[in-house]
């Protein structure tokens, strides 16, 4: 159980956050400069908040009201810094043993050997950090933090120092290490995929505040607001006008269409007709209607619309199509209205490179309305 409440004023920036997590891995996600690293520094005791309270497990490590402020060395948190901050003058083994100085020599040696072994670093024990690859450095930093058997692991952008192809491999590696070790962790990242892959709960930061804190699946499907969706980099983030809202359904007008969406049963809300409403449509949930089957029919195909492919991009396993609807007037997103993602195979079978005019349908459950 982790409970964090912090206020910290810096020149030109104010952090004011409050969140809790009882999950194994909690991700702090948001744009750079949102206060995520500052939060980690406050947790670790490297920066003293102006006010607040930090409880890790059953230990109060900071409480401004009660005058409690444990020094970094008493908090016993394993901090994996951005860029790793390995000691350049020490070997891999000495880096890992660095936090074990208070232990008896035998414990120190045994624990260092175990960490080296479990992280697959045994062959590198006598190397120095500058002789290691990026991935190896990351594991040494992780090992150094885990060796002290921390109450909580703090990970600050653990992949920012790595090349893109390596990132995906190491992301899954890190996930496995975290599960195997069973240490609770707070992960800071500005990459939503990273947060989603590694964290059970995601706390969304923006400009020094928490804008949403939710289990990862809930965040993915129900961003709390347009601002959250924008920070997550949600595609097809659009604005329409409410036509009719009931507890089950919301009808909205957009680009000459009436779209029908499901009103979330858990958070249903009833905006007044004619008020603006933000919504998003995931590109992979837009369905192309095959021309070799029966003709499209609004009774069968929900939210039916027609348009032209004005651009497409090959992403290897998928294609992204940019669609402009037939309705006159300026398109919703520059020169197109919707992004649609189709598997490579579908692109080939339907010969989309040749055939540019299509009809689409979107299930009402795939149009996600965002509270203002």
């Amino acid at each position: 159980m982790l409970s964090v409440s912090l206020k910290k004023r810096l020149p030109g920036f104010a952090l004011d956050v409050r969140w809790e997590s009882s999950d194994a891995v909690c991700g702090l996600f948001g744009p750079s400069g949102a206060g995520k690293t500052l939060t980690l520094d406050c947790l670790a005791g490297l920066v003293r908040p102006d006010a607040g309270r930090i409880v890790i497990g059953d230990r109060v490590v900071f409480d401004s009201a009660a005058g409690i402020d444990l020094s970094p060395r008493r908090r016993r948190l394993g901090y994996v810094f951005q860029g790793y901050a390995l000691f350049p003058h020490l070997t891999v083994a000495d880096n890992i043993a660095y936090g074990l100085r208070d232990q008896p020599r035998a414990t120190r040696r045994e624990r260092t050997a175990r960490v080296l072994d479990r992280l697959g670093l045994a062959g590198l024990a006598t190397r120095r950090p500058h002789e290691l690859s990026g991935g190896e450095r990351q594991r040494v930093a992780l090992g150094r933090a885990l060796a002290i058997e921390p109450a909580l692991l703090l990970l600050d952008e653990p992949f920012s120092a790595l090349d893109l192809p390596l990132r995906r491999v190491l992301r899954d590696d890190l996930g496995r290490v975290l599960r195997e070790w069973g240490t609770a962790a707070v992960l800071v990242t500005h990459d939503f995929t990273e947060a989603y892959r590694l964290a059970d709960r995601i706390v969304v930061y923006d400009a020094g505040r928490v804008v949403q804190s939710a289990p990862r699946a809930e965040l993915l499907w129900q961003p709390a607001s347009e601002a959250v969706a924008r920070i997550m980099g949600v595609r097809n983030l659009l604005t329409g006008v409410v036509a009719k809202a009931t507890p089950d359904r919301i009808q909205l007008r957009w680009r000459g269409q009436i779209l029908e969406a499901v009103n979330s049963p858990t958070r249903s809300y009833l905006p007044a007709p004619e008020s603006p409403i933000a919504f998003f449509i995931r590109p992979e949930y837009v369905r192309l209607i095959r021309k070799d089957r029966r003709t499209a029919d609004p009774a069968h195909h929900m939210n039916l619309m027609a348009g032209v492919v004005v651009g497409d991009e090959d992403f290897g396993t998928t294609w992204t199509l940019r669609i402009r609807l037939d309705h006159p007037g300026p398109p919703a997103q520059g020169d197109y209205d919707l992004e649609v993602e189709v598997p490579h195979l579908v692109y080939e079978i339907l010969e989309i490179d040749r055939d540019r005019r299509w009809e689409f349908s979107i299930h009402r459950g795939s149009i996600h309305v965002l509270p203002a």
Binding site: A44, R73, R75, F81, A85, F87, R101, D102
Partner: protein, 217 residues
Amino acid sequence: MDLFPLWLSIRVSLVATALTLALGVPLAWALGRRRFAGRELLAALVVTPLVLPPTVLGYYLLVLIGAPGPLGRLLGRIGVELAFTWKAAVVAACVGSLPLLVRAAQAGFEGVDARLEQAARTLGRSEWSVFWSVTLPLAWRAVLAGAVLAFCRAFGDFGITLMVAGSIPGRTQTLPLAIYDHVQANQMTEANTLAALAVALVVALLLGLGRLGRLRY
């Protein structure tokens, strides 16, 4: 030929360098790593010996540690006499050397990534331990360079030493003062020998350190 001035100079410079390190390293660390009231003033004070004429420095030092001076009387009470002894030469050398060491070491400490020290703190180390295990090992090259400068400055000091230690042959006459005396007395052979020895010593020192400095971690 009397080599006493050479031995005296080596002894004075070594003791002065040790004292300068003991005083200057904590000072450099405080100036480079801590934020405290009066830091700017302290930083300015530390470099004044670089900009003041040595005789002016020597004069004030003599006023301070001479038998009638405030520090002189205090020391006199415990039976220590500084002025016009080889110990005064050590104090004179320290005053000249301190700014050189502090400036070099401070730059070294400032060059150590503060994140490394923070990492050490989160790993359970005290400030004392952080300094000895991270800050100093990563800044030792700069500290060493400062110590070499300090030694050479101490070895070559003329003005401050002359004012506070005098130039008593066989007691406080260091190598630079002896060379001056020999030249005054037109004893060019002796002056030559001492000067050549001084050059040889400093060149040997720099060569040895150049080799040490190439050690990489």
